[in-house]
């Protein structure tokens, strides 16, 4: 009997600690576990008894890669609870800071975490020896994302300026102008990134996924919209808990999220693109088409191109916002806390991030629920591997392992987020 194990004890170039275990018997996959061993940190538990206005600073600490996402989902949930709506330039500034996070996080993943897989390097630093100009350009593009976050948020990681109701301080128009000049360069660099990623070699691998993302009538989604899918889901964020459930499995410190009665689903750049292509800026649409993409993309390996299209969109959108910006009169709306339940769902770089809080009449958090994108993609990642491995089963273990890792990195999994996640092991019997 021919059997083997593929095992990666500590998956590299993902955020956090994860592993993969695959057992193969007679050239068939008999077991797959995408494991999350990142130690649990219990955020939902210690949010109890904190005040509503502490949520953005505390939940930011779930993830150093996408703190803005946590801050945005939490402030939107609180504002939903207290019945206030942040609009106008304050709302625009929130979109702008989110553009910064997408540019920074996506560029990091495209060039430093994912591209080395396609080109056969262990990391971007080795890649830089053969592709110095590309890696330099990547670092500068990433830096501009960070500059947006730092200018509006105070610093790149765990920004300090986001609050329920708005910001502590808002920038003057002239403070944003130097960014505009830099963003014009970034938009060109992002355009080149789309063209460059499209030249990479992609395995022929398409699946019939259920994509889930926000959809907004006027814009590509960041902070608001209805939760929609390509298979008929169309609900308000308030109804999230009626349609999605979290399952606790033994091999993971992250909860697996599924759609009730339907199972696994797919969140992130590919989902957003498939559900919102028409809302991308004309330049982003045109560039996607020019490299041979249509409005539908079902190959998760091509997520590297889609991420680049989203970086291009974010540069375009950031420029639009800066051009139309006028400093708002007040940095934040006033909040009158009262007993209520609030729901928030925003598009983190890796997909929808759901927050729900129950607040008492003094503004204290009674309970909290947080569902990060990676825990929603876990099941889909395992399904992909179940389909992908049989197609490549003849490869020797080291190459098969590398391909499995690449298939996982398609999702840019953020394991620190999911644990509130991974080791790779392939077992052949």
């Amino acid at each position: 009997m021919n059997s083997r194990t593929i095992k990666v004890d500590y998956l590299a170039r993902v955020e956090g600690e994860g592993a993969l275990y695959v057992k193969i018997k007679d050239n068939a996959v008999v077991d797959i576990k995408f494991k999350i061993f990142e130690p649990p940190r219990f955020f939902e538990a210690f949010l109890r008894g904190r005040t509503y206005n502490e949520a953005p600073d505390i939940t930011a600490r779930i993830c150093g890669i996408c703190p803005i996402a946590y801050q945005m989902s939490s402030v939107h949930a609180m504002e939903d609870a207290f019945g206030i709506k942040v609009d106008g330039q304050l709302r625009a500034l929130r979109r702008l800071i989110y553009c910064g996070e997408w540019i920074e996080s996506h560029t990091l993943h495209v060039y430093m975490l994912h591209a080395p897989d396609f080109l056969g390097y262990p990391d971007a630093i080795q890649m830089a020896k053969d592709y110095p100009d590309i890696v330099q350009q990547a670092l500068q593009l990433k830096k501009i994302g960070n500059e947006i976050v730092a200018l509006i948020g105070g610093r790149e990681i765990h920004p300090i300026n986001v609050r329920v109701g708005g910001f502590y301080k808002v920038p003057a128009k002239q403070e944003l102008s130097p960014l505009a000049e830099r963003l014009k360069w970034a938009r060109d660099a992002a355009l080149e990134t789309v063209r460059w990623t499209a030249t990479l070699k992609f395995p022929d691998f398409e699946q019939d996924y259920e994509f889930v993302a926000l959809r907004h009538p006027e814009e590509y989604p960041f902070n608001e919209g209805r939760l929609v899918s390509n298979k008929g889901l169309d609900i308000s964020v308030h109804d999230y808990d009626n349609h999605f459930i979290e399952e606790h499995v033994q091999h993971s410190n992250a909860l697996h999220s599924v759609l009730k009665g339907r199972g696994s689903y797919f969140v992130g750049p590919l989902a957003r693109y498939n559900l919102n292509f028409d809302k991308l800026s004309p330049l982003a649409q045109e560039t996607a088409r020019s490299v041979g993409l249509s409005h539908v993309c079902r190959n998760p390996f091509q997520s590297i191109i889609i991420r680049s299209v989203e970086v291009l969109y974010a540069c375009d959108e950031a420029l639009r916002i800066i051009e139309q910006y006028e400093k708002p009169d007040k940095p934040a709306l006033e909040i009158q806390p009262h007993a209520a339940v609030g729901y928030g769902c925003t598009e983190a770089p890796r997909g929808i991030l759901y927050h729900r809080y129950r607040i008492d009449d003094k503004g204290m958090i009674l309970d909290a629920k947080i569902v990060p994108p990676t825990s929603q993609n876990q099941k889909t990642i395992e399904n992909d591997l179940r389909q992908f491995i049989p197609q490549h089963i003849k490869l020797p273990n080291d190459q098969l392992t590398l391909q499995c890792e690449q298939a996982i990195r398609n999702y840019d999994p953020c394991i620190s987020c999911a644990t509130h996640f991974l080791k790779l092991k392939i077992d052949r019997e």
Binding site: A12, E15, P39, P40, F42, F43, C63, I125, Q140, H248
Partner: protein, 272 residues
């Protein structure tokens, strides 16, 4: 001509948000210069390649929260010439040390449906409470400029220049008007370790202590000042109990205020 080997740098992760190690990748202008001087020998967030130890410099992010990690840090210490902790999790236990004030079993059942699958220690603890640490870099997150300073200081065999004074001094240096004096905004600046360049006050909010306690902080005097301006003990307790909740001076102050709060509640109950 003798060719000297590049020092080996390793980056280790314990319970954390990954933000502090990301700071190294956020050095967009300096990263390629850094890797010119050191060999990235172990850094799973950035590379698949693993060079064997021992390592000249180990940067450790995160706190110890599992038995497995308590054993792992011992092994890391043995293969590291210099061990530097980066960030509030590694130096003080981090935000996850809020469990240290509560019953962790209750926490597990609040987050996970099947608590029997979860293996965790009762407390989240700093790296220094397990092994000898050569240098602690504060901050939640750390400052990437300070990280570069610490790495280059050790490369050239000098002491890192990371001032231990308070955030107040940084405000004075950059000319930020005191938010506590001018706007009566409660601010932890007087007792908080410098390093961030006093960002919060420059954005019209009080410092929330993410760099942890400075040397010899007078926390009780600051708390009294907060009380005078109308903050209750419960609010003061929460101010000291965040990202550095288990750094000794902050832990003591929050516990003092917790006891005070309990006393005043008992007094109120007797009056009724």
């Amino acid at each position: 001509m003798s060719i000297k080997r590049k020092p080996k740098l390793a980056v280790w992760k314990f319970a954390s948000c990954d933000g502090c190690q990301l700071s190294l990748l956020d050095c967009e202008d300096e990263l390629l210069a850094v890797v010119d001087k050191v060999e990235i020998a172990y850094f799973p967030e950035a590379t698949r390649a693993v060079a064997k130890g021992p390592y000249d410099i180990s940067l450790v992010e995160g706190s110890v929260t599992t038995q497995h990690d308590a054993e792992r840090i011992q092994k890391i210490r043995k293969i590291s010439k210099l061990l530097i902790t980066i960030g509030a999790c590694a130096t003080a236990g981090g935000i996850q040390a809020l469990r240290n004030f509560k019953d962790v079993k209750e926490f597990i059942s609040l987050v996970y449906a099947k608590p029997q699958y979860i293996k965790t220690l009762d407390k989240s603890t700093s790296i220094a409470s397990h092994v000898r640490v050569d240098f602690e870099l504060h901050g939640c997150p750390i400052s990437k400029h300070q990280l570069l300073e610490v790495i280059s200081a050790y490369l050239y065999g000098r002491k890192p220049n990371t001032p231990a004074h308070s955030v107040c001094i940084e405000c004075k240096r950059r000319g930020t008007i005191c938010v506590m004096v001018s706007r009566a905004i409660p601010c932890l600046g007087p007792v908080t370790h410098a390093g961030c360049n006093a960002i919060c006050p420059s954005y019209c909010r009080g410092c929330y202590g993410c760099y942890g306690p400075k040397e010899t902080p007078n926390t009780s005097s600051l708390s009294d000042k907060f009380s005078d301006s109308g903050l209750n003990n419960d609010s003061i307790m929460r101010m000291f109990r965040t990202f550095n909740a288990c750094a000794e001076p902050f832990r003591k102050e929050s516990e003092t205020r917790e006891i005070e709060e309990a006393r005043s509640k008992r007094r109120e109950a007797r009056r009724e």
